[in-house]
Amino acid sequence: MQTPDIIYLLPLLFVGVGAILMMVLSTFKSISIKQGTTVSLIFLFLAFFSNIYNLNSFGDVYSVYPFIEIFNTMIVVDTFSGYFSSILILGGILTLLIGLHYFERHKEFTLEFFSLFLFSVFGMMLLVHANELISAFIALEIASLSLYVMIGFEKVIDRRVEASYRYLVLGSLAGVFFLLGAAFIYTGTQTTIIGEIGDLALNTVESNSMLITLGGTMILITFFFKIAAFPFSNWAIDVYDGAPLPVTAYMAATFKAAIFGFVLRLVLVDFDMIRDFWDDIFIVIIILTLAYGSFLAISQKSLKRMLVASSIVHTGYLLIGFVSISMIGESAASSIIFYLVAYFLSSLGAFGLISYISAEDRLKITYDDFRGFSHIRPYMAAMLSVFMLSLAGIPSTIGFIGKFYIFTGAIESGNSILAIVGIMATFISVYYYFKLIAVMYFYKSSELTDVPPLRGVAPIVIGIIALATIWGGIGNTFVAWFPGVDFLIDMAKLSYESLFIAQ
């Protein structure tokens, strides 16, 4: 029986329709933030379940071009996009659930925010479905534009507005590189469809291959900018720090996953040639990214800025996986995907919890504020410790398994030096992550007085994330039927395979 094409696109449609509906609803002033969140959540859940349905019902590995007569092959629905969509939608859901507390306490948040939020989820999902450079660009801009506004949504706070503008200007500049790169590639190959570029590039004349390499490089620059890799990471700390915490959490955890999703598709399917050209430069970039991020993270006093700086370090780890791709495609790709999930969980949990704690209008949360935190809020302190341990890659958390895969991949592909550099960065990260645990547990008194107690849905959600973080590190030795580490890795491998069956 033929599955109607619309089924494939249902997850996307649910989110898109939800976004438009929220925009309409935002004209009604009588609807509260809570109701708005609920409506958005309903659409996200619908999208999530239809996505899970898709993943389950089309076999292990599938790849389809829905509505081929309209979209041609611009949009692809495969296991890869399904897997990433689940991460993205889940990121949306969790961010909303965690942020609710924050949104309710800050008057500037109106219903338009949720419309923008859903649009950004939509854009990210479209990005991982995109099979063509221009539609990818449009998707990227949908997501980015929504984010620009979301960052500056609390317009009464100067820092927010500044961060928003900074991101807007720099982000648009980076976007231009993408367009230029796509144009170069089109000139070189007469196509912008992923999957055709690679083949055509192989059979082209010398002068064209130069163009294609240049175009690919331009696109990679945009990519480096968006994930805040070394030469382009200066914006990150101020923008992320200026954004409201739930938005920071969303950007660090979810947006990064979307970008990596698209670039993975691009690099795995098409960029053989560019990869050869880039591998050495990649190694330098990774080392610098790790060093720069570690240096930034060590010197921060504010917790939020430390987490942001350390997210640059995690970008470095993820890029280590990218270098391994040319040698060991499948396991490197799945190690990247797994690490994304690991980082997604731990950072969303950490940012989410801090945003919950700081909901009462404290713009800066420093290490010192957390002195003796475990004595007044033992559960929150325990959860925060779990996230720190996972970010530091200590065994029994998912972060360890993630690092394990990434470093094994690096050694397997002959880049032991990168594994050692990564280990050094991990070693430094122990300092700034453990410092928080030390501060929380080793002091008797606490100055953080206006911490909200465990109430509402956010702590429960964060608790579940914390359990997932631990579960992901221990795996499914004892409870074989419940998805654990192996499940995530197998899914990542299937996603990888699905990239190649359509060609």
Partner: protein, 492 residues
């Protein structure tokens, strides 16, 4: 034993710890539960001991797949060496609990239980990744217990020991990953199991050297071997009694254990090649830390150095490549753990009662607390190696082993061991016996619980000193196995 007794020994304390953490039970209830758990584990360990067959191979194997895609297994087993260390831990911990009985909080007991899980897990692991898992996980409760309940600049010393140990173990992790990759390249499937990775033949000498160094760094920091000892002093003197007890008497030994369990079978050639280096490093450590101990006026710091000094000697024993040295090292692990552990408990009590750690401020304790003094003397004599204690047997054997290795090493170690321990008498005289004007009236003698906790240690020290054969026979086949099968050295 097919209900997975080793798993029970590992995870029972952890389960109890988490249950206690979430149940509304006070410090006393937690303590009682912790003690009960320790006693149950002692009984389980007794079962293991009596069912242990006399052979040098792994027994009580448990094997489950953990992470299939990378061939990581939950694989447990024990041989003679693990067995005696297990017996040691199981005996020491309840004894120590009796000493820590009063005035500890809930978090303290929970941490102690978790440390026990980490230690047992490290001891039983037969898979490199699983070993690393426990090795690192063990660090967290130690981190907590020093940081939360330590004295002095505890936050700094906690961060210091954590950073130190994690640095070592991260390099070990790289080595482990490299070995796994090498196995995959050679055999086409992933495995980190010890039995599999020893079959790797493709590693070049340079690679092996680096990997060997990665492992040795982790273990040398933990032991600590000269020159990786700089964390030692602060950590020991700022740790709470329970923490320093575990660190000195058990966790330091796991470094030695790790060398024997993993470095020896994976790199047998390098192990033999570098044996002279480590024999001499051990002897040097014995002397160096012995002299350093002599310089200390803080009693805890003094024991910290004396502990490191003997650990150096243990390392000499395991690298001496003969039956005497190795058996002696295994024996010294036990003897030293009991004596040092006991001494740290006694000193902890003294510090608690009197509030002082400096030796010049002490004196005349013998009169005030005679039972205390007797136990103190037994532990001390064991450390010094007086005949009749197990300290003598083990040190004698290691010296024999060193002779077998090279006569010069034997002579030097025989001389050094006396010098290195002589400060003990000096300490005993000044802090305990000598009458002076210092006020030690707050010092109480041991109560019933404390005697009950210390007596088994004292009895074992003497029993093992007089009838060492009773305790040797379980471990002998294992040592033979190490030497003959793994290192391929002819014995006798």
């Amino acid at each position: 034993m097919d209900f997975g007794i080793l798993s029970v020994i590992i995870f029972l304390p952890m389960i109890v710890a988490f249950a206690l953490l979430f149940l509304p039970i006070g410090a006393k209830g937690t303590r009682n539960a912790a003690f009960l758990t320790a006693v149950i584990i002692l009984m389980l360990t007794g079962m293991v001991y009596f069912n242990f067959e006399l052979s040098g191979y792994m027994q009580f194997r448990e094997h489950y797949t953990w992470i299939e895609s990378y061939g990581i297994n939950y694989s447990l087993g024990i041989d003679g060496l693990s067995l005696i260390i297990l017996m040691l831990i199981a005996t020491l911990i309840p004894c120590a609990y009796l000493w820590l009985w009063h005035g500890r909080t809930k978090g303290y007991w929970v941490s102690m239980l978790l440390i026990q899980t980490g230690i047992s897990g490290t001891l039983f692991s037969q898979d490199l990744v699983l070993f690393y898992f426990f090795w690192e996980a063990m660090l967290l409760p130690v981190f907590m217990i020093i940081g939360m309940f330590g004295t002095g600049n505890r936050v700094f010393s906690t961060i210091k020991i954590t950073v130190y140990t994690i640095m070592g173990s991260l390099f070990m992790l790289i080595s482990i990953l490299y070995i796994g990759v090498a196995f995959n390249n050679e055999f086409g499937s992933w495995s980190f199991a010890l039995n599999d990775v020893i079959q790797i033949t493709t590693l070049s000498r340079t690679e092996e050297l680096w990997l060997f160094a990665g492992f040795m760094l982790a273990f040398a920091i933990k032991i600590p071997l000269f020159p990786f000892h700089t964390w030692l002093l602060e950590t020991y003197s700022n740790s709470p009694t329970g923490g320093v007890f575990l660190l000195s008497s058990i966790m330091a030994k796991l470094g030695v254990y790790g060398i024997v369990r993993f470095v020896m079978p994976i790199f047998p050639e390098l192990y033999k090649e570098f044996a002279p280096l480590f024999v001499w490093l051990g002897i040097f450590g014995l002397l160096y830390f012995g002299v350093a101990a002599l310089m200390q006026t803080n009693i805890k710091k003094m024991f910290a150095y004396s502990s490191a000094s003997h650990l150096g000697f243990i390392v000499t024993g395991i690298f001496s490549l003969n039956v005497y040295g190795m058996t002696g090292a295994a024996f010294l692990i036990i003897a030293h753990a009991m004596a040092t552990g006991g001494l740290f408990l006694l000193v902890g009590k003294m510090e608690y009662d009197l509030g002082i750690k400096a030796i010049p401020a002490l004196g005349g304790i013998a009169k005030k607390a005679p039972v205390f003094t007797v136990f103190f003397a037994i532990m001390l004599l064991c450390i010094v190696g007086l005949p009749g204690t197990n300290g003598f047997v083990s040190e004698f054997l290691i010296i024999l082993g060193a002779f077998g290795f090279s006569p010069v090493a034997g002579v030097v170690s025989a001389l050094t061991v006396l010098v290195a321990a002589s400060f003990m008498f000096w300490l005993f005289q000044r802090a305990i016996l000598q009458e002076n004007n210092n006020d030690v009236s707050q010092m109480k003698d041991l109560n019933f619980k404390e005697i009950a906790g210390m007596l088994p240690l004292a009895v074992l020290i003497i029993a093992m000193g007089i009838y060492p054969d009773w305790f040797f026979y379980k471990i002998e086949p294992t040592i033979q196995h190490y030497l003959v099968d793994i290192l391929e050295i002819r014995t006798f």
